[in-house]
């Protein structure tokens, strides 16, 4: 028993063990630090809470300001969401937002407007989705869960606004914040990746005429809620009573 005690009481050996321990701890700390740092970063960037049902995101589009031939909103959407694939047949390409030109055959009055997912309160796409991949967040944003979409396209048959696209071909160079994939259905997300950071959807920011207003319909002090309270607006296919998050003026 005395020999080991002697060995451990040996000052030089004790110093060596201590130095080794400190060195190992330091190495360990160096090895763990990046991971700890990443955890901190991810915690910092993650929303502190999920979507709140107190908020109802909505959009108001003034078609009297929307110019025919202008597609700044469409371009901004494509850039923000990484919709950059080339397709031979345009009908097989994704169109999260598209411009529609309208003409009243009797009066000849014309106007133009952007059409996208109307983020219905009672979305037919959510009703018909067999797996629940089509879903509505608590704040009213209608999304597709890419992990459980099986690509049956029933939601596309059900959408009265033709707002959904099916990815027909392999994709490359995607925006990491906006995962997309061949064989799944997708549509306007109100740029949820921006909204969750307190930003407006890309189309709203890009509109040169300021024809698009985005905000919380439930907040009586928001710009959109005040305007909807005081100005006339329309829901497209209001007869379907789907409770749309997107309202139009001038149609």
């Amino acid at each position: 028993m005395s020999a080991p005690q002697n060995r451990i009481n040996n000052p030089s050996r004790r110093n060596f063990i201590a130095a080794t321990a400190v060195g190992a701890a330091s190495l360990g700390a160096v090895a763990l630090a990046p991971g700890l740092h990443l955890i901190e970063v991810s915690q910092a960037s993650a929303p502190s809470a999920g979507a709140s049902s107190k908020v109802r995101w909505g959009m108001l589009i003034d078609t009297t300001k929307c110019a025919s031939g202008c597609d700044e909103c469409v371009q901004a959407c494509n850039t923000e969401n990484g919709i950059n694939e080339t397709v031979q047949d345009a009908r097989q390409g994704s169109q999260w937002i598209r411009k529609i030109d309208l003409k009243d055959p009797q009066s000849g009055r014309q106007h133009s407007l952007p059409m996208m997912c109307q983020h219905c309160e009672k979305p037919p796409c959510v009703d018909v989705c067999p797996t629940g991949a089509s879903m509505k967040r608590a704040d009213g944003i209608v999304l597709v869960d890419r992990h459980i979409c099986i690509g049956c396209r029933y939601c596309m048959m059900a959408c009265p606004y033709k707002a959904r696209s099916f990815v027909h071909q392999p994709l490359t160079e995607q925006n990491p914040q906006v995962p997309r994939g061949m064989g799944c259905v997708e549509s306007c997300t109100f740029c949820v990746q921006r909204v969750d950071r307190g930003l407006k959807p890309a189309c709203v920011e890009a509109c040169p005429e300021g024809a698009m207003t985005f905000g919380d319909l439930n907040d009586p002090n928001s710009d959109i809620a005040r305007r909807l309270a005081n100005e006339a607006s329309t829901q497209v296919r209001a007869d379907l009573k789907l409770g749309l998050g997107v309202r139009y003026q001038g149609i």
Binding site: R91, P130, C149, C152
Partner: protein
């Protein structure tokens, strides 16, 4: 139909048919693999016409599968002895065709690899979701029903099992019709009529398939179907074909009466090009009027060939009607802004066009190949040739009732 009774020629013919069926199936599966690998860009489907040729084949097979089971139901549930001898074949065809239809739908999915997701995530508000319960249930109930038919010890249970299968098949076809009936967006759909219409379509198409298979099996075995039995079955087919025609007429008349639907009806009935030709030529003329003529005109109605031709034409009509119903409804633009002229980069306000690509068509035929091969092997291995005891039938009065 014992193996030892078959001549060498019949043996070879069976293997030839099995090989042909398997080859068609293999080509269909290959086409599905190609679509899965390349994406739906290699199909004629797009973001306007989202369901195409595979769905025409699949819906036909699913609807006819539930209809072909009626032959068994008439025997077990409604006590018609004549049809009892046909029950096992009816059950086999129902299982083979439903499996084939479902395989087509699954292989056409954008993410066919996620079938397990479809089975483990159920949205109860979805008609597709309900169908994921109805289809496996059909397999289970028809399987049990066939057991009660084929196992002598289980025979006493064949009536309740047959009743359960009959009720389930009505639910299943209601579900298939409601896939479309519950769609509020498209002009051609959103109608409660579609569920009963699909049920009566299944009666006609299923019986037509059964009569074709029955005729082929009798010919193969050098047997002749008794003329009275043929007469009874062809009268039933005629009744079903006429009933489908009635539903189709009422469906279109209803639409014609609604101003908001007249543009769509004009497209289908008058100006729709291939769709109009398929509706009038394929469905009305070839698929309805000509079969009715063959089944009821005294000059033809007693001939075995006429009845076979009529049943075949009913299937031509079925495919024509489904093509118009599924594709025609999608190429017609959605009425997003009623009363306005619209144009856009995405076919708004315009009639779209759809040309099915080869892989889509091959996938559809692959499904037919699956049903054909499964049936050929099934009737070969099991004793499914309807054996009619004519004397017994006549004595019991079942040839007359």
């Amino acid at each position: 139909m014992h193996l030892e009774e078959n001549s060498l020629f019949e043996e070879n013919l069976f293997y030839l048919l099995a090989v042909i069926g398997s080859l068609i199936t293999a080509v269909g599966l290959g086409a599905a693999l190609y679509m899965e690998h390349s994406g739906h860009v290699v199909t004629g489907m797009n973001n306007q016409v989202v369901w195409g040729m595979p769905h025409v084949f699949a819906i036909f097979l699913v609807v006819a599968a539930s209809g072909v089971l009626n032959v068994a139901s008439i025997g077990s549930v409604f006590g018609k002895t004549l049809y009892k001898a046909r029950a096992p074949l009816s059950g086999l065809l129902a299982l083979a065709m439903l499996a084939a239809g479902l395989i087509i739908v699954m292989l056409d999915l954008g993410r066919a690899d996620r079938m397990i997701v479809a089975m483990t995530h159920l949205n109860i508000t979805s008609m597709f979701g309900w169908n994921t319960i109805l289809y496996p249930g059909f397999f289970a109930i028809v399987g049990i029903y066939m057991w009660t038919l084929m196992d002598r010890k289980m025979n006493p249970y064949s009536k309740p099992a047959g009743l359960a299968a009959f009720i389930w098949r009505i639910l299943l076809t209601t579900g298939t019709g409601s896939i479309f009936g519950f769609l509020v967006a498209r002009q051609a759909y959103q109608s409660a009529m579609l569920a009963p219409m699909f049920i009566i379509m299944s009666f006609a198409w299923g019986l037509a398939v059964f009569m074709i298979v029955q005729k082929a099996m009798f010919s193969w075995n050098d047997k002749q179907l008794h003329p009275q039995i043929r007469a009874r079955m062809k009268n039933l087919l005629g009744t079903f074909v006429a009933a489908v025609f009635y539903f189709v007429i009422v469906y279109h008349l209803t639409n014609l009466y609604f101003a908001k639907q007249t543009a769509f009806e004009h497209f289908i009935l008058l100006s729709g090009g291939a769709f109009t030709v398929l509706f009038w030529g394929g469905y009305v003329l070839l698929g309805t009027l000509l079969p009715l003529l063959l089944l009821y005109a005294p000059a033809f109605s007693n001939r075995s060939g006429s009845v076979f031709a009529a049943a075949s034409l009913v299937l031509v009509g079925a495919f024509s009607l489904l093509y118009v119903f599924i594709i025609g409804a999608q190429v017609f633009p959605l009425d997003i802004f009623p009363g306005m002229e619209v144009s856009s980069s995405f076919m708004d306000g315009k009639i779209d066009h759809y040309t099915p690509s080869l892989p889509e068509i091959l996938l559809g035929f692959g499904g037919i190949g699956i049903a054909f091969t499964a049936t050929a092997i099934g009737v070969r291995v099991l004793k499914f040739l309807p054996e009619d005891d004519i004397q017994k039938l006549e004595n019991s009065g079942h040839m007359l009732d």
